[in-house]
């Protein structure tokens, strides 16, 4: 945990230093070097993408949004862990003697359930019962006679208490059976039968919380950044800066640069959140990293990227058909329907622990796959080749959608004077005067 705090302090110090430098500079023209350069994307597309990255990073909405997401993720990881720790310590009061071998076995059994065990010695049954009533112990072992609890039906340790009662009962039976020491030892160390799992025995299931947080993250980021793309295109059109820009570059270059720039920010934010979640979960020993969780985290990032790539073109094309804020809702709502449907279906599947036929179909449909496929990964209900097939389908669909969206954008972006009718944007009718 302290390493996380150190990391947060370092980040805060770096941000503060950067802000101080920015304030100290006289003009941005002189102060910032190579502002519109992208390391890996050259030419005008890179210049446009760099502007998007810079302007978005500068915006308060991005910084506040990132901090909020990190806070929510931190709460989702830390709070259940605190609760688990609090509930996990099994406090055992003992009246009379409890042999060391039985103490050891009780401790061992509790540890298998993820709990620590704390033994306290109680002077008599009355005092021990008072301790239960006050909530200071979870159960009391009264010599080898009985186990006392507050209410076995409501105890969070009901299964462990039943196990303890069983162990003590067997021990008493063995003691009264007049067996030899070696016979008792054999019986005490008798193991259970081997359990054979029909599914992959080497992989433990992922914590439901990991899948849920992953789905929420994908949904939130896709909604947020696609809306940014839509609004960004609409603002360029409404402010008429589009004419100045398109006098210097082709529409497809501007569109690609915008999609790329916003996509870089989206992926960086998602990577930051996932990385933060990973480090934090590791630090606090959260069960959310149990089993296949790391695989699922990678899957979340992959599908976030694919989801953004698919939807960003569609939202950009929709943005080119609008030029006022009040028109945005009308075009954004229909586009978000597949996302909402797949989000609800995926959450339902993850919570139920069952991959229905519906969610399996959605995992191969490009608009719904970004949420449905990570859900299948969390449920361990998909093979690697099916995962790869879905990626391939999504990539091919994205190419088609990008081509179509570029056409709509090209036809609609310079059209002013109201929302562009769909028929005209789809080139079903000749454009009218601007």
């Amino acid at each position: 945990m302290r390493y996380v705090l150190y990391a947060v302090l370092v980040v805060v110090a770096l941000v503060a230093a950067r802000r101080r430098r920015a304030r100290a500079s006289s003009t941005p023209v002189e102060a910032r070097r190579a502002a519109y350069e992208m390391p890996f994307v050259r030419g005008r597309v890179g210049i446009v993408a760099a502007r998007e990255v810079r302007e978005r990073l500068r915006g308060r909405m991005f910084r506040v949004g990132t901090v909020l997401i990190l806070a929510v993720v931190a709460a989702a990881i830390v709070i259940p862990n605190l609760h688990h720790r609090h509930a996990a310590a099994l406090r055992v009061g003992v009246v009379g003697e409890l042999p060391a071998n039985l103490r050891a076995q009780i401790t061992r059994d509790a540890r298998l359930s993820g709990d620590a065990t704390i033994f306290t010695t109680e002077p008599n049954v009355a005092r021990a019962s008072a301790q239960i009533t006050n909530g200071r112990v979870d159960l009391v072992i009264v010599r080898d006679e009985r186990v006392v609890v507050g209410n076995i039906a409501t105890s969070p340790h009901a299964a462990e208490i039943a196990q303890i009662a069983q162990v003590l009962g067997v021990a008493r039976a063995l003691a009264s059976a007049h067996l030899s020491a070696s016979q008792i030892s054999i019986l005490e160390h008798a193991g259970g039968l081997t359990i054979t799992s029909l599914r992959h025995a080497h992989v433990k299931p992922t914590d439901v919380g990991t899948s849920v947080i992953g789905l929420i993250l994908i949904f939130m980021i896709l909604q947020q950044y696609n809306t940014w793309t839509l609004i960004g295109v609409m603002e360029e059109k409404s402010s008429r800066v589009i004419e100045v820009l398109l006098a210097t570059l082709r529409p497809i270059q501007l569109l690609t640069g915008k999609v790329l720039g916003i996509g870089i920010i989206a992926f960086a934010q998602a990577t930051l959140v996932v990385g933060f979640a990973f480090v934090l979960a590791k630090s606090v020993g959260s069960s959310m990293l149990r089993g296949a969780a790391p695989v699922e985290l990678v899957s979340i990032l992959i599908w976030l990227l694919l989801g953004y790539a698919f939807y960003s073109w569609v939202y950009a094309a929709a943005g080119s058909m609008t030029e006022r804020q009040d028109q945005i809702q009308a075009v954004a709502l229909p586009l978000s329907v597949p996302l909402i449907v797949s989000y609800i279906a995926s959450l339902t599947a993850v919570e139920s622990g069952h991959a229905s036929l519906f969610i399996r179909i959605l995992a191969y449909v490009p608009p719904t796959a970004p949420l449905a496929m990570p859900a299948l990964v969390g449920l361990r209900a998909v093979t690697w080749w099916a995962f790869a097939l879905s990626i391939l389908v999504s990539l091919l669909a994205t190419l088609g959608v990008a081509r179509f969206a570029a056409g709509v954008y090209h036809r609609a972006i310079l059209r002013t004077g109201g929302r562009v009718p769909l028929r005209e944007a789809l080139a079903l009718r000749r454009t009218r005067a601007t």
Binding site: V29, R54, S239, V244, R430
Partner: protein
């Protein structure tokens, strides 16, 4: 060789409306050319066509005889009618960004942005957002964006609209300066007095086709002859009434403004005036550009 823009046979129809109808004209670099016409005449459509912002039904636009391509257009500067800047982006950053899109290096774009902001008295506003500026200053920033990359041709749609006299003077000075340095300047405006003072030549269009074009001097001295005559003691210019081929366009304080038909003779007018009294003023009058415009477009 002087750079030259040649517009030939442009046609563009929007439904039933002919926005451009076989429009042709030439523009030589080194001149400030006024691009005039009534509202809806096709000026903005023509300017957008120069920058490839709309598809033409017919016609060609060439620069030094070569069809315009994207690379050549990036060497032009454009100021659209409805100003185009990112409202919430810092001014210095915005100019640098637009300079980069015009193929400038990052350092050149920064230096030129700084230079033009200083020139327009906005050096201290580089870290401000565009939306925080007054209309006139936004106009100056928009012009700086068009000038930043030292364009070969400047196309400005209504650059003087909404400016105060000082703003008009600043922009006029820059346009003349750019033309003198070899840049072609084409700008539209409805402020005809300003155009007359600023431009060497004009192109006037109406209903999408060319009505007239030429130097301001030629247009002012061509056409029907105009005289200003003042006869002592005749404040209503009664002496001129009834003269064949002579129309009185205006009489102010005894000063008569006369328009002569092609077959009317100014000597006849002078003799008629002298016979009416002492002639205190007799002059040939140039047409104002506003008169040229009205006669051409009505």
């Amino acid at each position: 060789m002087t750079n030259e823009l040649n517009v030939r046979g442009l046609a563009r129809r929007f439904g039933a409306l002919k926005a451009l109808d076989d429009l042709s004209f030439d523009l030589r670099a080194g001149h400030v050319v006024g691009f005039l016409g009534p509202n809806g005449a096709g000026k903005t459509t023509t300017m957008r066509a120069i920058f490839g912002l709309l598809e033409l039904d017919a016609g060609t636009i060439t620069w030094n005889g070569q069809p315009l391509d994207a690379a050549q257009r990036r060497r032009f500067g454009y100021m659209p009618e409805e100003r185009g800047l990112y409202p919430s982006m810092l001014i210095g950053d915005q100019l640098e960004y637009l300079g980069r899109l015009h193929q400038m290096s990052a350092s050149d774009a920064r230096a030129e942005a700084k230079r033009w902001l200083e020139r327009f008295g906005l050096a201290d506003r580089a870290t401000h957002k565009v939306e925080s500026l007054s209309h006139g200053n936004q106009q100056r920033v928009q012009l700086a964006a068009a000038l930043l990359h030292d364009p070969e041709l400047l196309v400005l749609d209504e650059p003087l609209a909404g400016l105060d006299p000082s703003g008009i003077d600043t922009i006029s000075e820059v346009l003349v300066e750019r033309a003198r340095s070899g840049c072609g300047v084409l700008f539209s405006s409805h402020q005809l007095d300003q155009v007359e003072n600023l431009c060497e030549s004009v192109v006037i269009i109406d209903h999408g086709h060319l009505v007239t074009a030429g130097t301001v001097d030629d247009l002012a001295t061509s056409g029907t002859q105009r005289l200003i005559v003042r006869v002592e003691g005749d404040r209503d210019a009664n002496w001129a009434r009834g003269l064949t081929g002579v129309t009185i366009s205006e009489v102010t304080g005894g000063e008569a403004r006369l328009v002569l038909d092609d077959d009317a003779d100014s000597d006849v007018v002078l003799r008629a005036a002298m016979s009416a009294g002492r002639v205190v003023e007799f002059a040939t009058r140039r047409r104002r550009l506003s008169e040229v415009f009205r006669e051409a477009t009505t």
